[in-house]
Symmetry: C2
Subunit: 207 residues, 2 copies
Amino acid sequence: NIPEQTLRRIPMYHQILSEMERKRVQYISSKQLARYFQVDDTQVRKDVAIIGYKGKPKSGYSVTGLKNAIEEFLGINYENTAILIGAGHLGSALAQYPGLKEYGLKLIAIFDNDPSKIGNVIGPFTILPMDSLQRVVKSYDIGIAIITVPKEEAQSVCNRIVSLGIKAIWNFAPTQLSVPPDVTVRNENIAMGIAMLSHYLKTHKIQ
Amino acid sequence: NIPEQTLRRIPMYHQILSEMERKRVQYISSKQLARYFQVDDTQVRKDVAIIGYKGKPKSGYSVTGLKNAIEEFLGINYENTAILIGAGHLGSALAQYPGLKEYGLKLIAIFDNDPSKIGNVIGPFTILPMDSLQRVVKSYDIGIAIITVPKEEAQSVCNRIVSLGIKAIWNFAPTQLSVPPDVTVRNENIAMGIAMLSHYLKTHKIQ
Ligand SMILES: NC(=O)c1ccc[n+]([C@@H]2O[C@H](COP(=O)([O-])OP(=O)(O)OC[C@H]3O[C@@H](n4cnc5c(N)ncnc54)[C@H](O)[C@@H]3O)[C@@H](O)[C@H]2O)c1
Ligand SMILES: NC(=O)c1ccc[n+]([C@@H]2O[C@H](COP(=O)([O-])OP(=O)(O)OC[C@H]3O[C@@H](n4cnc5c(N)ncnc54)[C@H](O)[C@@H]3O)[C@@H](O)[C@H]2O)c1
């Protein structure tokens, strides 16, 4: 199993390498990469070994080579199809976010149980009722379900998704979902961000 | 310095304990808590020591006691005042999110540089122009700035915020911000979530 710290760095490496590529930089050393993360360059070399990139010329890693290796490692070249449930504030922001596609996530449809929202259009999507969930999941071989419903509703929505055979859930509701062992849940908990910032401010308060 | 893994778990402990409190559960053992995170109960005991909670009766930790200790540790009882820059899809979802308040973040004002947005209302906020940034930051002693502008604009917005004396930045734009050493940046990178899910699907593909 890959350490979470490494997995956390990998999309950031990808971000940095994409910006380097845009600026036509050809090579980057492990020392230069390490500076972005306040880690030691041996840690960067360990991460690169986990990614499975072999190139190591004297002048450092090839920016394009390492970036492509990351895309291969993350599987973002294989398009993952996704559905989104909960077309509220956050759901509609995500549905219109071009960044999803950049990371290989192809959103197919969005669902909601509010009759006043069903039939409305968000970007290229028409909000569908929950009873058409089964039809869409079956005909598109959906890999990922994104949950952006209120936390009280999240478990029951999750149960429905799991019963349709979806194996990966991206959960934005601030609650722990219980799922069978062959299903993975990735929680996005914005409290994490607030907690880190307020802890920093509290410990650095110049009073 | 606290390990990131521990800091990642702490808001989740808070979430679980709040739900237990709602269900009137009085005590919880380190073994029970450990089950939520697939960690060993000695790791939970280490985390609780970092949080600074001393209570350890035979029947486990007091749910309310540990929850309050976490709130103290995270500083979420001290209200942190915040401003948000970039009233687009994500910015307006965040501005209307009641979860910010629950974690002690008091949003004071939202700003944008698009003339067609300035003056519009989102929830309780009127979108302000960037020229009134200085006035608001000075009169409210702002602790945190939330950046939800496109990534090409993020560094210049960040420079402006830092020049006004703000020490904590919550950055949603997928780019690395460079800041002076006494400023902390918390990056929310949704690519991380997509990367973990697509990596899981790729390695568990049932062909
Ligand atoms: N808004 C944010 O910035 C933000 C940030 C982080 C996390 N979250 C979390 O994301 C979730 C969504 O937040 P929001 O602000 O978009 O809320 P919201 O109320 O604007 O949207 C929720 C949507 O879910 C729909 N819904 C409710 N129950 C449903 C069900 N059983 N089946 C299908 N659809 C259902 C509602 O009709 C509504 O459209 C919440 O759990 C929230 O805590 C929100
Ligand atoms: N929408 C999402 O779900 C989502 C998810 C993750 C990350 N992000 C990131 O968050 C940021 C915002 O995304 P969005 O989808 O809300 O974009 P958006 O285009 O809807 O909103 C951006 C807003 O920033 C304003 N702006 C641009 N330059 C500015 C400047 N110099 N000063 C002040 N305001 C300025 C624009 O007028 C606009 O209102 C982007 O960097 C994006 O990559 C978005």
